[in-house]
Amino acid sequence: MSSYKLLKNIFVDTIDVDEYIELESALYSYNTLFDSISRPLKMILLFGRPGTGKSVLLNQIYQNLKYQREIHYFDAPSIEPREFFRKFFKLVTLKELPKNTEVNFTTLIDYCKSIRGKREITILLDEAQMYDEQMLEKIRVLSDTGAIKFVISIHKTQNEDLIAKEHFQTRIWETIELRNISKEELKTYIHKKLLKRNYFDIADTIKEKHIHLIYSFTKGNFRECNKVMFKIFEIYEYYEAQPNSKIDTKKFSTKFIEMAAIRLGYINV
């Protein structure tokens, strides 16, 4: 297999814990979230623009705490309330909901109240901006029982204040914002990704000017950075496959960075 094919796959956008790169800013966010979960809070809001590492962080927390406490990760939002409550019923009561039956919300609230002080359940809700207002209201009522703790992850959009202001104004006790990383961190991120798979030579060819160029397109966004790096190695892969290929393995190609940027629409020609 082409080495460039392997290289491009390093930058496939994933929330796999094995792909997690420990950066200074990510470590800070992790520690803050970890502390918040340990405290008796009802709601924790995790927000940031798409591609700032919210899902990776939630997954990382889930993987690290899943054997220590009752923690559950809802990676994809359940559009149908029935489906959400079926899932919720199972993890709270530890029983399957019988077929052709629906969860009685009032009974569920009563049950949650009955386990308060006995059990402490943490639910990590990713992509929470996908839930409708009615669902969010029910989540709020569930958190009020004191038995369920929610970590709500939302995209930082124009409606970012919706949850905080309208539904959970008095209940969200902790907010954690994730931001794009700096140029230095981007360099560390790319290098660590490559070194993790033992691509020392390639990592060594990526210099400051290349990082600067990549950063100018991606603004330090993980997802955008992954996309650019993936495209760059895809272009490498193409030229490597051409007869009489003249790829200079000692130098990282600025041309390919620019071509990737054109392909991804960062540069309008």
Binding site: E234, I235, Y238, E258, M259, I262, R263, I267, V269
Partner: protein, 253 residues
């Protein structure tokens, strides 16, 4: 895989676009340098050409020979310009000959067009002039050569006096007063100084010539009176000096 050829084309287009401002900058700088260099060159050429023309037609220093002529008992120095260089006329033709000097009582005037004086000698004409000579003549006309015209002074005085009848020019009157005083014709000097003063009583020279003429005729008291009157109007150092001189002479008498 998407169309890499198309992507390459787009990349070339992008690089071209990216380099356009640099091309423009480089061209602009090059044009500025060219313009500056040419300007310096043109300026140098113009200056050289101007210097050549200037040296040819307007020598910086016109050398003169000096002739000493006697006017009455006094000695005056008259400067005669030497012929201009590089003009295709013979030296003899351009030189002002000694004949034009009248060693008798003479005045000199530089303006040949002045009807008051008659020209002594016309410059000889040159037959069959080349275009260059015509051009030179044209330049020469604009910067007229100075010829010395000499006239007998008695005629000159008469003409100034005649002209004064119509012009009533205080300068003419003062000129006559000055000349008569220099010629020690104090009575005439006194008369013309008086007339000049009547026309312009702010002319210090008219007051002074009038007083000096009076004093020269031995009328120190009147001269003192005249200078006193003038000093009441002004604070002239010349008048004060004369006044003191005359007072001293009067006291000796």
């Amino acid at each position: 895989m998407y169309d890499m050829k198309e992507l390459e084309k787009k990349w070339f287009k992008y690089k071209l676009k990216q380099s356009i401002p640099w091309f423009i900058l480089v061209i602009a700088v090059a044009l500025m340098i060219l313009y500056y260099n040419n300007r310096v060159k043109v300026n140098t050429l113009l200056v050289d050409y101007y210097n050549q023309i200037s040296e040819k037609y307007f020598p910086k220093k016109i050398e003169t020979n000096t002739t000493i002529v006697t006017l009455d008992n006094r000695t005056q120095v008259v400067e005669v310009p030497l012929p201009l260089p590089d003009i295709n006329e013979s030296e003899d033709e351009l030189n002002v000959s000694d004949e034009i000097f009248d060693t008798n009582d003479t005045l000199y005037e530089t303006n040949s067009s002045n009807p008051f004086f008659s020209s002594i000698k016309d410059a000889p004409e040159v037959d069959k002039k080349t275009p260059e000579e015509i051009l030179e003549d044209e330049i020469e006309k604009r910067h007229e050569k100075k010829y010395i015209h000499i006239k007998k002074s008695s005629d000159a005085y008469q003409e100034v006096e005649q002209r004064f009848v119509t012009s009533q020019d205080p300068e003419d009157a003062l000129f006559l007063a000055r000349i008569y005083y220099e010629k020690k014709n104090y009575k005439k000097a006194e008369e013309w100084a008086f007339i000049a003063n009547e026309l312009n009583d702010e002319s210090e020279e008219s007051w002074l010539i009038y007083a000096k003429a009076k004093a020269a005729r031995g009328e120190y008291l009147k001269a003192i009176h005249i200078l006193d009157s003038y000093l009441q109007k002004t604070n002239s150092l010349g008048a004060r000096k004369l006044l003191e001189e005359y007072k001293a002479k009067l006291s000796k008498k």
